[in-house]
Amino acid sequence: MFESIEEVRERLAEQEYVCDRRLATVVYLAMKLDKPVLVEGPAGVGKTELAKSLAGAADRSLIRLQCYEGLDEAKALYEWEYGKQLLYTQVLREKIGEVLGPTEGLREAAAKLREQEDVFFSENFLVERPILQAITSETPPVLLLDEIDRADEEFEAFLLEFLSDYQVSIPEIGTVEAEHAPVVILTSNRTRELSEALKRRCLHLQIDYPSPEVELEIVRLKAPGVGDALAKELVETIQEIRALDLRKSPSIGETLDWARSLVVLGAPTLDKDLIEETLSVIVKYDRDAEKVLAHVGGSPDRKDLGQKVPTGENPHEAMYEMHRSTHKHTH
């Protein structure tokens, strides 16, 4: 599939995913060794995007499982379709007399019935959830287990069998094994430490905020309307803001939101006022906003930027309305 690390990089770049060599190496190894990848890093650095782009680059389908607290095997692996089972029992009731035929005694009848037993515990009545889907799929897909740190510890434990051997044991049926190993990508925001057992089974990849060069490239790729000078200025400012001690540093997603906002506003360059007015796109906490303003030299008393009610008098105020709707993060 991928023949070299360079090829991984090029193919990902075709999917508009800019990455460094380290990331490409890990992806290359994951494909070659059939190992899952655990991607860790702060929110909004493109962890999920990696899986999407990889699916695109390798021309595979993407199966996504968003993890959350209380997620269990019925939602992640498989579930019996009780309703369907019941319906079949009802419909087949008349058929039973026929199947059993003329039998002598209950014992024989029970034996005959037992022969038919597995009709009701076959793949027919199994609802495939993402993980089982990934295993049984004809062409191996890319399976994304998003934000695994949100799931419970128990959930991690029953992922272990799947991650090490790409198989799932279903008591009633047996072990379902994958013919071709799917590419598995797990992401974590590190809200809690994952278990050693899980980590041991995965290749580990730490993604951090990108270097200025990489970020500039991303901005150019994903927000093409931004002029060169502005893009540069924007990335520099973002990098400076990240260096501050904030509760939530702006992510790449927010950089892009900001870039797009500036395009909408038609701003030629960044200045203090503009930063102050559009700050709420990149900074989501009041206290952070104060810090950033103090850093760029703006007046710190206008801290309630996000809550400001648009009056329609100020042309920039359209912004507030707009960014409310564009708050969904692309990364």
Partner: protein
């Protein structure tokens, strides 16, 4: 290659990076895929397969640079010699033997094992010396150490060693002064001047190296070449080894520290990642036993969501018509923990450890509120949520939150807590108090604590003092003990794990 990687894994483990055998196998498989062509790729490959914890990445990077700089240095050295002596060697540089990638393992590992054995011999000597007198506050220890130094001087016959020894003694004395207040037991410095090695490498050593090469199935002609040029290499070897020793020292340095650190909790100032992990594991175990701990299982209840499978199963007898719906809901999803932590002078040594514990409690569970007290109570939940562990702990001690230098007064603190924070408690809360219960003669005010305990489900008091110590001085623990559901003595990570173990046993 196997030897080099295994060796590297050993070094990582010595620095408390946990690498499992499966992972080192992964690393080897991965290197087969990527090849050894580029340093950057090799580094990335090793990192992704061997290092799974963020905190370890830094260690890995440092060790990788150190470890894999051994060989290039060696190359340079031989190359230099080569230019000197073999100007017209038809482009067959001596550095071949040392520089060739595939065979490079041979000289490398050979010299490693050689140095290692000697190093450890020396180190054993010094470890014993470090262990024994560490309890001794008076001059005895230094006397003993001096005699060992003199032995060392004789052994080494090195002119610089005397200076070194003297330096080390002063270093130790400084160290003692600096830490004397809190930890009189720790007299030992981490100086490693004792690792000076006699560097007279003889021809037999070289023969050993050649034999080793034979064992490793290295190309015969290469070995012959090596033998021919043995003279030059022998001349260069001492310097090479010297460099190796230097590097080795850097690689080894941390070993002693960590051993010492584990022995004394007072060293909690440098909380090692391994201990962090231990604490975390212990706390996880405790948390499972705390009443109201989270369960993932749904239980049948009179309220909650309809569970289709269960409803269908139960109603099969009514031909699938759901006469009796089954409802299920989650029970007590998370432990609600309120921590009350003493940060006064008398428990200062402990409170750092406690705060680390608190920090981990908070990062593991979402419903934890943390208060610190000396004579006043202050809530610090937010610090722990927003800052890194060390910064949060520093903030608590900075004096901005509350005056940490007055005498502790639990009675007053309990009173204040009762007046201000009682709404934070409910019948599902577990209250964990970390303190020694020493009130410095002030009224114990057990009534206030009693009222608090009545509002919570369970009260656990964690004290650093064993029970026999309570009768000494003004300790009100006997009074408070009656009010708590359990009192645990915890001084170290080990004990914390012990308590966790015990809780498990009691329940099961």
């Amino acid at each position: 290659m196997d030897t080099v990687i295994n060796d590297f894994v050993q070094v990582l483990r010595r620095h408390q990076v946990r690498v499992s055998p499966a992972e080192s196998l992964d690393a080897l498989h991965a290197l087969e895929q990527t090849g050894l062509g580029e340093r950057g790729v090799v580094r990335d490959t090793l990192r992704t397969t061997l290092v799974k914890n963020l905190d370890d990445i830094e260690t890995f990077d440092r060790l990788f640079d150190l470890y894999f700089s051994l060989r290039p240095m060696a190359e340079k050295r031989t190359a230099k010699l080569d230019v000197h002596d073999h100007d017209h060697d038809q482009g067959q540089p001596t550095s071949m033997e040392f520089g060739e990638d595939a065979d490079g393992a041979a000289p490398d590992s050979e010299e490693h094992s050689h140095e290692d054995s000697e190093n450890t011999e020396f180190r054993r000597h010094f470890d014993e010396d470090k262990m024994r007198p560490s309890e001794d506050i008076h001059g005895e220890a230094d006397k003993m150490r001096l005699s060992i130094f003199s032995q060392e001087l004789i052994l080494n016959r090195k002119p610089g060693a005397l200076d070194q020894a003297l330096q080390r003694i002063t270093h130790q004395l400084k160290l003692r002064r600096a830490r004397g207040m809190f930890s009189p037991g720790d007299l030992v410095s981490h100086g490693d001047g004792g690792q000076e090695l006699p560097l007279d490498v003889s021809a037999t050593d070289f023969q050993g190296l050649v034999d080793h090469l034979h064992d490793l199935d290295v190309d015969e002609s290469l070995i012959r070449q090596l033998e021919e040029q043995s003279e030059e290499i022998l001349r260069g070897l001492p310097q090479l080894i010297e460099q190796m020793v230097e590097c080795q020292k850097k690689l080894e340095k941390k070993k002693d520290d960590s051993a010492l650190m584990r022995r004394s909790l007072r060293k909690i100032f440098d909380y090692s990642p391994a201990e962090q992990r231990e604490t975390e594991a212990a706390i996880r175990r405790i948390a499972r036993q705390i009443h109201g701990a989270k369960t993932r299982r749904l239980k049948q209840d009179r309220t909650g969501h309809i569970s289709v499978p269960h409803t269908l199963r139960r109603n099969v007898r009514y031909e699938g018509i759901p006469f009796k719906p089954v409802l299920r809901r989650h029970h007590e999803k998370r432990p609600r923990v309120v921590m009350l932590c003493d940060v006064s002078m008398s428990t200062r040594n402990m409170s750092r450890f406690w705060l680390h514990m608190v920090y981990q409690m908070q990062s593991l569970f979402s419903k934890v509120r943390t208060f610190v007290f000396v004579a006043d109570v202050a809530e610090v939940t937010q610090f722990f949520e927003e800052s890194s562990m060390d910064r949060a702990v520093d903030q608590v001690f900075s004096g901005r939150v509350l005056d940490a230098d007055v005498n502790s007064d639990f009675g007053k603190a309990a009173e204040q807590f009762r007046n201000e924070y009682l709404p934070a408690l409910n019948h599902r809360t577990t209250l964990v108090i970390l303190g020694d219960g020493r009130n410095n003669g002030k009224p114990p005010n057990a009534a206030a604590l009693e009222e608090i305990t009545q509002h919570v489900r369970q009260t656990v008091w964690i004290t650093p003092e064993p029970k026999w110590g309570w009768s000494l001085g003004s300790c009100d623990m006997p009074l408070y003990e009656l009010l708590c559901d359990r009192v645990e003595v915890v001084r170290s990570v080990d004990q914390l794990a012990g308590v966790a173990e015990e809780l498990v046993r009691v329940r099961s």
